[in-house]
């Protein structure tokens, strides 16, 4: 077991790679009642073309299968894992993203039972024709729910405008057509390939005994057999930053128009420290341009281009990435024009030293605040690790970032990378 000490953060992390390849991280948190564990596979909705473990040829599976698999994994031959967690007073959950699927629980008692249960249910798939069929209507209702949600449509259509072929342009849950094509055989192919322990990460946080907990995990894993792992062969699609559509308009039954301006990343192969510095640089730039302390924000609010729904977000992952600036507004065209203008001028941005320091302190403060929350740490940890970064080192990297690092990131701002999506009332 390795011990990683982060002095300034007053946190210590323990790490071990088990013989079957599983990466285990333990973060003791003294004085907390809550235990929280996430068990995450590096596999999401975009991993649709791959060579199944033990085979030779690529196959392509229907959209939405990773998410479908997440729903079905809770079922086992002996019943529903959700209900078993309930017996141990735990709160289980799961979510599927573009490139990760995570299973988790929180509890304040029966910690060891729950930890075993998490490892066991995820590592015990049970798919039958009948239980696969039954799930299709439930997921169809989930898709309908998102269809009625204008914020989701705003977000998603903006991504679809950016990407030509990358799987990120299909809804995580798939479509009502694609999910009805899913069979139990396909689910097993995906499961066996992507749920190998060597493709997974376990993160546990709480007030527990470190050695005892690691021993529990070792013993749990030693009991199970897994095939030899020789890496996952999946097809990544890399695109240039040229967007597929410059603009789109959707009509829905809403009162206030919604606008998102998206900008597609050109550096989709960055990993590790390079990605970390690029990400921090972009965060600083977007804060400088659009946070409430910026002159642009003040201008847009004074001129009624935005309201309290205004926001921005940055997503950077291996093979895809983008930033988005969005709002509800009665002046969609003016907002769009203003934001695009700001983004184009950002190529030559010079952030004054004083603002740079202030924003750095702010970002450092909000990262430290995230350390209060075991959930926030656990939910982010795997994402950093799968991109060869470390969550705790990233917090300390804020202090080291320089204006020169920020300048290097300015090539992100490129006219052909920009798209707009507008939702108008019917």
């Amino acid at each position: 077991m390795e011990k990683l000490v982060y002095d300034t953060l007053k946190e210590t992390l323990y790490y071990e790679k088990l013989p079957n390849g599983l990466s285990v991280y333990l973060l003791p948190k003294k004085g907390f009642n809550k235990y929280y564990a996430t068990f995450t596979t590096k596999y999401g909705s975009t991993d649709n073309t791959f060579i199944p473990i033990g085979q030779k040829d690529y196959i392509t599976v229907p959209d939405g299968i990773a998410h479908f698999l997440e729903h079905k994994l809770f079922e086992s031959e002996e019943g529903d894992a959700f209900l078993k967690f309930t017996e141990y007073a735990a709160n289980p959950n799961a979510y599927t993203g573009f490139n990760r699927t995570s299973y988790l629980f929180s509890c304040t008692s029966y910690f060891e039972e729950n930890l075993n249960l998490l490892l066991d249910f995820v590592q015990d798939p049970y798919f039958t024709d009948q239980n696969v069929e039954k799930e299709k209507n439930i997921i169809a209702q989930e898709i309908s729910m998102y269809d009625d949600n204008p914020d989701w449509r705003l977000y998603f259509q903006t991504i679809q405008n950016m990407y030509h072929e990358h799987g990120v342009n299909v809804d995580i849950a798939g479509t009502k057509e694609s999910i009805y094509k899913i069979t139990k055989e396909m689910l097993y192919d995906c499961y066996n390939t992507f749920y190998h322990p060597a493709n997974m990460l376990l993160f546990v946080v709480g007030d527990f005994d470190i050695e005892k907990t690691m021993e529990l995990i070792r013993a749990n894993q030693a009991k199970k057999q897994f095939p030899q792992f020789s890496g996952v062969e999946r097809k990544y699609v890399f695109e240039t930053n040229e967007v597929k559509e410059k603009e789109s308009v959707i009509k829905m039954d809403i009162m206030t128009p919604k606008v998102a301006v998206g900008i597609k990343n050109h550096e989709s192969k960055l990993q590790g420290k390079e990605l970390m510095n690029f990400e921090i640089a972009l965060e600083i730039i977007f804060n400088y341009l659009f946070s409430k302390s910026s002159s642009h924000y003040q201008y847009m609010i004074d001129n009624e281009l935005i309201n309290n729904t205004f926001g921005y977000e940055i997503t950077l992952e291996y093979s895809y990435g983008f930033a988005m600036v969005y709002t509800d507004t009665n002046k969609p065209e003016e907002f769009k024009k203003y934001v695009i203008d700001v983004l184009l001028k950002a190529k030559d941005l010079k952030i004054p030293e004083e603002d740079f320091v202030r924003i750095k302190n702010k970002l450092l403060g909000s990262s430290l605040r995230a350390l209060n929350s075991p959930e926030a740490i656990a939910n982010n940890f795997a994402r950093f690790q799968f991109n060869d970064m470390n969550f705790f080192e990233a917090i300390m990297a804020y202090e080291a970032i320089t204006l020169a690092d920020v300048e290097k990131a300015l090539s992100f701002f490129d006219e052909k990378a920009i798209t707009t999506n507008i939702i108008l009332p019917k």
């Binding site: 300034t8 953060l9 007053k10 004085g31 907390f32 009642n33 809550k34 529903d80 959700f82 209900l83 967690f85 309930t86 017996e87 007073a89 709160n91 289980p92 929180s106 509890c107 304040t108 008692s109 039954k134 299709k136 209507n137 439930i138 169809a140 209702q141 989930e142 309908s144 729910m145 269809d147 009625d148 949600n149 204008p150 914020d151 039954d253 809403i254 009162m255 206030t256 409430k292 302390s293 002159s295 924000y297 003040q298 609010i301 009624e304 309201n307 309290n308 729904t309 509800d328 202030r358 302190n361 702010k362 970002l363 403060g365 430290l368 605040r369 350390l371 209060n372 929350s373 019917k426």
Partner: protein, 423 residues
């Protein structure tokens, strides 16, 4: 962990000392009787006060100040609980012992927080009209946004129909139609009234000494003595002769079903904890009847939940369904409630629900804000917050309690938002 409570003239102060968190969090809460006469003004005030102060006269300058306080966060919001309208302001700062620089972040933050509450930017003795107009526009957008989220819209519509002539219909953010009559002048009068008459609580949590906190409170937060407003539960009700059924047609992919009930039980009744557990058995957890029987067994929906309102005793079940499944889903949902009345649930289900609540209760003290809010709720319901006593109350609930309480629940209104007329 140590708890200190002290009354300083008109201010009730609660300090929770703990080394668990890397932040210091504090809330200043003003409560008043919920009333149509001032609810919208108060909602607006919660935003106007954090928009411009004497030394930081714009949102930009306020945000810059917060950033320089190591990304401190500042919030202002309104809420309601039974008969009470609660306006609260909160700040969260990094505990200065995590910073390399030697700064007194706590005092700087108190000073800034003081300015937010007591030193708004004025012109001619009133709030800046620019600020008031801007916040009126933003609040109006909040009212309009409800329509755009059809899950929220249909839930709100159910309450509007069910409680048409009751105080409960008032939203915490008030009424859109009041906005036109609000001026910088009458808003300032409401602000003065609030400082003078509202019941004020200050709650703070973090790694702090008593001396440091109380000397700062004495310096920055002074409120004169005033009568305490503590009547919380809203017992206004109506006789339900016949279930009111309303269907509204809109352009939706999925039908949204909302069913409102009167439980006739509020947070001050002995039956409140049985009701809480009943609600858990019905529709809060993965093992709850609605989730298990309506979603998992019959595949009728993705989301389905039930909620109760502690201050009013209203229960709502809501789900998203295929419009053709309305009758089937509706009947199956009501059947789950019937099962509770007849005691058709296992001891195991009951035990699991209690364990789930106790798990939730134990987690409250792991989050600084949840902890402070639980303390505050404890004052309102005259039930000092303690994980142990809350857990005991949940644990004491029996199957007979659930059956008795289930008998009291009356269906009142059904609201269905759907894409075409249902036969």
């Amino acid at each position: 962990m140590k708890r200190v409570e002290q009354k300083i003239a008109g201010l009730n102060v609660t300090l929770i000392q703990t080394t668990k968190f890397k932040t210091i969090d504090f809330i200043l809460s003003f409560r008043s009787k919920l009333s149509p006469a001032n609810v919208t003004k108060r909602a607006l005030l919660s935003q106007v006060l954090k928009a411009a102060t004497v030394n930081y006269p714009s949102k930009m300058e306020i945000s810059r100040k917060l950033e320089s306080l190591y990304g401190a966060s500042l919030g202002g919001a309104v809420n309601k609980q039974g008969l009470l309208h609660i306006m609260s302001f909160r700040m969260s700062i990094i505990n200065d012992n995590y910073l390399l620089e030697d700064v007194n972040l706590l005092e700087e933050s108190f000073k800034f927080f003081h300015e937010i509450i007591f030193q708004p930017k004025l012109e001619n003795g009133e709030f800046l009209s620019k600020v008031v107009n801007e916040e009126k526009r933003l609040l109006k957008d909040q009212f309009l946004a409800i329509y755009d989220d059809k899950i929220r819209y249909s839930y709100n519509k159910l309450i509007d129909i069910m409680c048409e002539n009751e105080l409960y219909r008032l939203k915490p953010i008030g009424r859109m139609e009041d906005l036109d009559s609000i001026t910088s002048e009458n808003l300032y009068e409401e602000y003065q009234r609030m400082l003078r008459e509202d019941t004020v609580d200050f709650l703070i949590i973090g790694d702090l000494t008593e001396e440091r906190v109380f000397s700062l409170i004495n310096k920055y937060f002074k409120f004169d003595e005033r009568p305490v407003i503590n009547e919380v539960v809203d017992t206004e009700t109506k006789e339900v002769r016949e279930v009111n059924r309303v269907v509204e047609v809109k352009d939706v992919t999925q039908a949204k079903l909302n069913i409102g009930f009167r439980t006739n039980i509020t947070g001050l009744d002995a039956d409140y904890y049985p009701l809480l557990v009943l609600n858990g058995l019905l529709g809060v957890y993965p093992h709850s009847l609605l989730f298990r029987n309506v979603r998992e067994k019959e595949s009728l929906c993705y989301y389905i939940s039930s909620t109760i309102d502690k201050g009013k005793g209203i229960m709502v079940i809501f789900a998203g369904i295929d419009k053709n499944d309305y009758q089937k889903a509706y009947e199956l949902i009501l059947k789950q409630l019937e099962m509770l009345k007849k005691g058709e649930f296992s001891e195991q289900d009951l035990e699991n629900t209690k364990k789930a609540y106790i798990n939730d209760i134990r987690q409250i003290i792991d989050n600084p804000i949840d902890y402070l809010l639980a303390e505050y709720s404890g004052y309102l319901y005259d039930e000092p917050f303690s994980v142990e006593s809350l857990s005991n109350k949940v644990n004491n609930v029996t199957k007979e309690d659930i059956m008795r309480v289930a008998q009291k629940i009356q269906e009142d209104t059904v609201f269905l938002l759907t894409s075409e007329e249902v036969k």
